[in-house]
Symmetry: C2
Subunit: 276 residues, 2 copies
């Protein structure tokens, strides 16, 4: 088992985690606190020049770890599937402009069709935008989502499924994002993390905690240590593969969003140091 | 794929589904509607003579399909684990008195210890009460629960895990309960249902639906056809194993509990005929 992180050199925070802050404010405050990485949600870029925003982040000595999110490929409606491909191509352009080489995919699902069909459309969708991704030097990370999101957010609900798909697509521009919130319950997690690493597919590592009780299916994530996920143990499995990337704090929480975000940022750093 | 059920001869309803009704009222109304099976939740037996209640159910021509629920074996505290064994022994006595040969196990989990430890305590707990179960002629069905319940309700979250454990315990008095709500998202579901049947472990089949969106982690289940679960397809996999038991409607819903339960019962029967 790993020790807790001694410093913040591998700490990344997702803009959505401190949603009340504009990205400029987040960048300034993350940097002042010693955070070294930022993952940018696309809503944070609205109305901005993306290239300039990327430069601003780098001026704060922040690594732009990834852009969140592409995906949402499946639909019974072929027009919507085509629109999804266009949107993913746009995300690839945005990632390149922002200066990050990774997009996280929340793959999507259409509850009006079988999961198998949604899964096929996801794989076809990724394959369709792969030429643009590789031309732009942008990698696509399939993020398996918790089974409670299988209706609309993702038909890829285990790391085994994500590994299967990444291996089937067999490209250096397709890999997997491991998020402890989605995967902690899986009895095959350690083995699938190892497999993911062995195939060179482990591209991102997201952390937070599962509160007990959890009161909302989407917006009640906890800080590391606040719940029952063995974050440090899972990080040790991830690092055993040779992964040297960031530990990305991704928390959706109506409770924390109501707090003073400077206070919340201090809590994030404390939880990272003590319980990750 | 199966056709929808033509009659109600295999329809069972869980007392919790029509929670506002006392069990005597439920029995009378189920029977009048042509329902042939009832699964009894233990809270419905409070303050009653259990043997007489069993007789009452049979007088209404209802098969007592199972007693819900035993389980909740894991705890970091050895005294609580001992208390859980006592409670499961009590449940076995209650099942025998009620005149049913099946108890459904919601196995439990303790969020303050690793899932692996909870799983070991579950297996040890079932093994510990097996002598009483077999002496009473009562079978114990491990119900794998949705991964969103892995913190406190069950550390057994896939049918593969339940199959593994039932096969390890290797007793005619231990098997598995398949509930579409918990398992519908699993890409290996068809294969694991087949395996469950091949080992003679498929002891119960529960139905309802996953609403999209679902607004509560526990109390927002839907009627069959109201959500995205392919209930009929899953039933066809269950029946392909040779399963001839009841289709048990188990719905926790604050919305439906607020309705006139006679109206709700009509909806259950309509949903059963049309979407199961």
């Amino acid at each position: 088992m790993n020790a807790a992180p001694k410093d913040l050199s591998k700490l990344c925070i997702h803009t959505i985690t401190t949603k009340p802050w504009a990205i400029e404010e987040a960048a300034k405050n993350y940097a002042a606190a010693g955070v070294k990485g930022i993952t940018v949600w696309r809503d944070a870029l609205e109305g901005r020049n993306i290239r300039q925003t990327g430069n601003l982040l780098r001026e704060h000595d922040l690594t732009v770890v990834s852009l969140c999110r592409g995906g949402f490929f499946p639909s019974k409606d072929p027009n919507k599937r085509k629109a999804a491909l266009d949107d993913n191509r746009k995300a690839i352009e945005e990632a390149a402009a922002l200066g990050t080489s990774l997009i996280v995919l929340v793959c999507g699902a259409d509850p009006t069709q079988p999961l198998e069909e949604s899964r096929k459309q996801i794989q076809d969708g990724i394959a369709a935008v792969l030429p643009e991704a590789s031309a732009a030097g942008v990698r696509l990370a399939i993020e398996p989502l918790h089974p409670m999101y299988a209706d609309t957010r993702s038909a890829i609900n285990t790391l085994a499924q994500a590994n299967d798909m990444a291996e089937a697509l067999n490209s250096p521009y397709v890999g997997v994002a491991v998020d402890v919130y989605h995967l902690w319950w899986d009895p095959s997690l350690q083995q699938e993390i190892r497999r993911c690493g062995e195939h060179g597919n482990l591209m991102a590592f997201h952390i937070c905690d599962w509160k007990s009780p959890t009161t909302d299916l989407l917006l009640d994530r906890g800080l590391m240590g606040e719940g029952c996920i063995p974050v440090r143990q899972i990080r040790s499995w991830v690092e055993a593969t040779g992964f040297t990337g960031f530990n990305e704090v991704e928390i959706f929480s109506t409770i924390y969003w109501q707090e003073d975000q400077s206070v919340f940022l201090k809590k994030i750093i404390k939880a990272y140091r003590e319980n990750s």
